[in-house]
Subunit: 266 residues, 2 copies
């Protein structure tokens, strides 16, 4: 039986999503596979909707695996959450079509980048947001991000998998502000390596007045200008979720790092 | 020159606020004193508005110390934040009357207890809120907390300093809910040891329907019934701030663990 599950994790302690054989450094995929094997006694292969780099978080990473679990799905979720470390949680789980593949058939992926622009660091958010110690021009950031929507060559913002193109379709960008917090959310069919972190760094350059919104948009005409900016740090980035035609993912719980109310409007 | 400062910290890594001589376990007071000594070359004594136990956090702990610092106060704040570890921040600082004592002359102290009632743990909030994995009756909790306001014998909720009475005056209690999050905030002239954590545990018993709001209030008539409940865990508790007649404390920044908008109405 193929199972889909939606998981959230704080990425701080992990080398990213993808298993690193034969390394012993902890990864999300490695922990999930080890936990499933402990639970069922059989080796397990876990697939994810999107890779996340070391230190990157997820609110709604979608995974799938085959399992010979003989009890209820509720029991499987409870058993997984009992065995997984406290920085990973399975918040939804269900039976998937037997050929469901969370990466290949995702028709859209959503990422978010969280920025804190208070004058001093936030001791509670230090692993969960990028601290930029000055007020940013949020309206300028919003203008720049809006110009990225559409089918474009995003080569200045990221590297493709070997042999692939740098053309992607961005369906939506949102720049949300709430007091000293700014979140950049982006939905696209797929992403290039480091694309959201380079976009976040570009938006911060705009927000600081170092670059105009038009200059940030003009990178779409200069795919050779990689990287537009050095990537923003990984700990501000969240894999928010993926969309599928064949399975319905429920709305996620309101995690603490997701609690700025303006972010609930998607 | 006497300086007041308002600090926030994540208490996870510390044995509490108060220095533990001759132990080498880290405390907030110990770190502050060591940092001041590194900065000025002279031994420093730091006083705080309220002690916090191991694992307890602060949004607005008020401290005071004497310093021979010869540069601007802005430079002192910047130097302190550069030397302090990332889980402690000085978010405001100013000159105080030379006899200012943050504990003795606080006319009120505010604590908050943060509860997450989602069905599964929050990986981002695991050190910052108590996870109670069922929906709570928030209205019942609100009724119980409202009956604690006033001058009462709170002996069932905490222990006094040696030789002192268990009578305290609670000026305000607030139970705020936002989705799966509940916060209990309480303002009083002073607190007994473990008082807010025992009150939070009592409110959760009410929220679970194990105890009526009236029964929670009736502990005020039974000070010998200590402890009303085993204390709720330390990591849900925040020292929010203290009020003074002689110095004005500015409004704090919006920390991530403070971002539930309903909490901003004080």
């Amino acid at each position: 039986m193929r199972i889909w599950a939606t998981i959230a994790y704080e990425g701080t302690a992990y080398r990213g999503f993808q298993r690193l054989a034969p390394s012993h450094e902890p990864t999300i995929q490695g922990i999930l596979e080890t936990t499933l094997q402990r639970l069922t006694g059989a080796p397990a292969q876990v697939r994810g909707a999107g890779r996340t780099d070391a230190g990157v978080h997820a609110l709604g990473q979608v995974i799938a695996f085959d399992s010979s679990w003989r009890h209820s799905l509720e029991d499987l979720q409870r058993a997984l959450n009992a065995l997984l470390p406290p920085d990973i949680v399975v918040w939804a789980l269900g039976e998937a079509p037997s050929d469901f593949h969370p990466r290949r058939e995702a028709r859209a992926r959503i990422y978010r980048y969280l920025i804190y622009m208070g004058p001093w660091r936030d001791p509670f958010g230090r692993r969960l947001a990028w601290h930029v110690s000055q007020p940013l021009d949020v309206e300028g950031m919003r203008q720049a991000a809006a110009m990225w929507v559409g089918r474009h060559d995003f080569g200045a913002f990221g590297r493709p998998p070997k042999g692939h193109s740098t053309i992607r379709e961005v369906q939506r960008t949102t720049v949300m502000a709430d007091g000293e917090w700014v979140a950049f959310e982006i939905e696209a069919d797929a992403f290039l390596y480091h694309m959201v972190r380079i976009m976040a760094a570009t938006l911060v350059a705009v927000g600081r007045g170092e670059q105009s919104p038009e200059a940030a948009a003009a990178y779409l005409k200069r795919p050779e200008a990689y990287p537009a900016h050095p990537p923003a740090p990984p700990y501000g980035l969240y894999f928010v979720g993926a969309r599928y035609d064949r399975i319905h993912i429920p709305f996620p719980p309101q995690f603490l790092s997701d609690s700025l109310r303006v972010l609930k409007d998607r």
